[in-house]
Symmetry: C2
Subunit: 490 residues, 2 copies
């Protein structure tokens, strides 16, 4: 065996163990009995210890030095292995193990605190998580910016300053658009009624399949926070239902299907290798968002969905496909990020980005977080947060230590805007197809031009190759202004 083959064989086993760890995380949020949290923390810590030992195994350094890549794919494998190895050796094993243990326990406590709407029950644990993440960032940054160091886990090659600049550019046109909509005098219609859970889940499954989700390599379960998990031949999603709001279930399902089909469509030759998953969180989010918004919330597709929902639930008591489309895209200042419309969504993300950057940089204490959250929310959304579960306790990310993750949501929206523009050029009759509930051409274009490549190219290049141009915010803003101008009559 060559050094490259030995390295790949070792890394493949590590990827397999990592898949087990990921599925154990899935189990924790969907299947685990409530009394098992403490034992699970110990299990995850042991597994994380094994993974850390493998990722920092000094033989990887030797193999990397000796490996002679035979082609560009091998070069890309080595690029990803080197990045991961260099990151891992900077992180002390003790800290990796401690992070796994604490975030595992923290997740259960967060869920309980959210249910009880009790911030004080969770504040101490979150402070512990923040402190550990600061330590992690310091270890990884090696003197550089601590937040930037954490960002690399989600969006390699990006900095907090770049993101702040990008968000600075997005913000004025978004704020202006929001004000025009709220000042338009137009009130979008709203669905009302009681939508049975079983019927919601059945239609959600149909939507998942319509958007290309392969149930022979996945499954759909319920969870508090919808997510997608896994890669290759076992990619699972979760959803949730709200009897008063079936769109919550349907669009979070389509969103997670965007993540999941990306994983399912990666070239099988990359299975259980560093190239076998999506290129970054931002690129991942571009898939979930283009599925959910540019395709799923389009005028054309919603006319098909309108008829499906009528068949499932009977009379929807909205005027027709136009009113239904306006209801799907209704703009309103809500508390919950995952339920936000396309106009407000990035405002939710910017709030979290600024707060988490301040937390990690030490400019904001965890004790002051609810106050800072509520103040910023009132400013951006014009509404006072009424309870922690509608505010600072709503997301799972911080409790499990995912600092640096949030901004990738808005990066994904920017990428989705660019991909949507390119897709429309490649498939000129897209709307006619969407109106028939036919996603096949759109899905084939995304699979061919982006999804199959997995991590073969770096994130920005992955998007640029698909779009034929460097990603920028213009297409997203143009799309939003055109779409909501039409709905709100300006």
């Amino acid at each position: 065996m060559t050094a490259y083959d030995e390295l790949m064989s070792f890394v493949r086993e590590t990827e397999a163990l990592s898949a087990v760890a990921g599925r154990t995380g899935w189990d924790q949020e969907t299947m685990m009995p409530s009394g098992a949290a403490e034992q699970r923390g110990e299990e995850m810590a042991a597994l994380e210890g094994v993974l850390h030992a493998r990722r920092t195994d000094p033989r990887i350094g030797d193999w990397l030095e000796a490996a002679a890549p035979a082609d560009d794919v091998a070069k890309a494998q080595l690029r990803e292995i080197r990045r991961s190895y260099e990151r891992s050796v900077k992180l002390p094993a003790r800290l990796a193990t401690e992070l796994a243990r604490v975030t595992s326990v923290s997740q259960g406590e967060w869920a309980a605190a959210r249910r009880a709407d009790d911030w004080s029950a969770f504040q101490g644990r979150l402070a512990q998580v923040v402190k550990l993440k600061q330590e992690e960032g310091q270890a990884l940054a090696a003197g550089g910016d601590v937040y930037d160091a954490l960002l690399q886990d989600y969006e390699p090659g990006t900095t907090g300053a770049e993101i702040a600049a990008l968000f600075g550019g997005l913000r004025p046109r978004l704020v202006a658009l929001r004000e025009r909509i709220l000042g338009s005098g137009t009130t979008a219609p709203q669905l009302s009624g009681d939508f049975a859970e079983a019927a919601q889940l059945k239609l959600a499954e149909r939507l998942a399949v319509t958007f290309g989700y392969d149930l022979s390599k996945g499954r759909i379960d319920k969870a508090v926070h919808p997510f997608s998990s896994g890669s290759g031949m076992d990619v699972r999603i979760t959803t949730r239902t709200d009897p008063a709001d079936p769109f919550n279930c349907f669009y979070s399902t389509i969103h997670e299907v965007g993540h999941a089909t990306y994983e399912q469509k990666v070239d099988p030759a990359y299975l259980l290798t560093p190239l076998g998953s999506g290129a970054s969180m931002g690129v991942h989010e571009s898939q979930s968002r283009i599925y959910e918004n540019q395709l799923g919330r389009s005028r054309a597709f919603t006319s098909w969905l309108f008829h499906q929902m009528q068949e499932t639930f009977g009379d929807l008591r909205v005027g027709g496909p136009d009113d239904f489309y306006a209801a799907v895209n209704r703009v309103h200042s809500g508390y919950i990020r995952t339920e936000a419309d396309e106009v407000h969504y990035n405002l939710h993300v910017m709030l979290r980005f600024d707060l988490e950057r301040a937390l990690i940089e030490g400019d904001l204490a965890v004790a002051d977080l609810p106050g800072a959250w509520n103040e910023r929310f009132a400013r951006d959304f014009g509404v006072a947060v009424d309870k922690p579960s509608n505010g600072v306790l709503q997301d799972v990310h911080w409790p499990v230590g995912l600092f640096g993750y949030f901004p990738t949501y808005s990066l994904g929206n920017v990428y989705a805007g660019c991909l949507h523009r390119a897709l429309r050029e490649a498939v000129p009759d897209l709307d006619a197809q969407l109106a028939e509930g036919d996603l096949s051409a759109a899905l084939a274009w995304l699979a061919e031009n982006l999804q199959q490549h997995g991590s073969r190219y770096v994130p920005r290049e992955t998007v640029a190759r698909a779009c034929g141009a460097e990603p920028e915010a213009g297409p997203l803003l143009d799309y939003l202004e055109e779409k909501f101008g039409a709905i709100y009559g300006f």
Copy 2:
């Protein structure tokens, strides 16, 4: 840290990883998408490789030599660690990895072959499993008996010859009892009707809780073959339903609850240590069988169950509690071991014991297995096997390599007979309690005298301490003869 502390810390991590592996096995039978089998095989192989490396880590040998146990519990920990270590170092890593990979794939193929009733589709894979298990047995036996070597994984300290002798003693009285029943001219009543799955599952959950199952540390799902999995704070069971036969669901649930509560009741001080699980498969089976049979199928408890089932399903169309009791305990020559009555059950086990011993010793070829099965079945049960799913393909054990497991079922029955005699002496008014659906005194006696100890004592001692006498077959046979003599009027 002392050598003992270092050893225990290392072993505790291994136990935690082993718990993850066990839960991954649970996932495979309950949740895994059908297309994920191949990837899962690779994942399990990687995890098995890690576990094998830990279990054969030469530091364990050094620690065992240096460790000075402070008390009897520490001595028992060292006894179990030494047994596991000595076994593991005999098994080549290549073979352990290959076994994990092949049995994982094999399980999916068995399930498909069973569904299709196609022995030929599975024969080649089973031959591969048998060959690997023979290699394993040879490596472990180091010149001794190959089957005995495999037995040690399930019932340490027992030999095939001892079991053959015990089964030789059981058989004459069982055969005589079976003949008296079938010749009695009495036909037991039988339940008929269509019992809705949801109602069955609801009552099964109530029965699980009645028999002490703690759902905050467990969960109930459906699977082809009911099983219990896990230890400590996360012990899961599965069940299945048959619309025509609710007893199948109820009694397999009670059976698995016997296994699961044993694990849940082990002293929490032993959590994630070698003492933290049941003492052996035979002792485990003594719990599942005393729950299911001596308690669950007693005249007293079935009168309570009769009323519960009437409330759930309406008129059962049997004469009353006496007829219901006779229906629960109806003796008939069925194909399926897990549905067998108490009289036939051990005949099913003896068949498998003889065949698997011959397979492993090389006296029976896998190609000849269905013929040997069907011939023996016709002899013992007086019925010809009609299809592989009612014969050689019915059980998951051989497909996943569990050779040496089957005889522990009958050992468990013998132990349950002894425990039942002792329990009746300790709780004289047991029947009055069971008639009220009150299991608390029986469960407390079992938890106090047996379950809490986990693997603190070796299997035979575990049972002997609870019974106050060495286990023997007499009490089981006395119990069966008295019970079925009363039902069948002799």
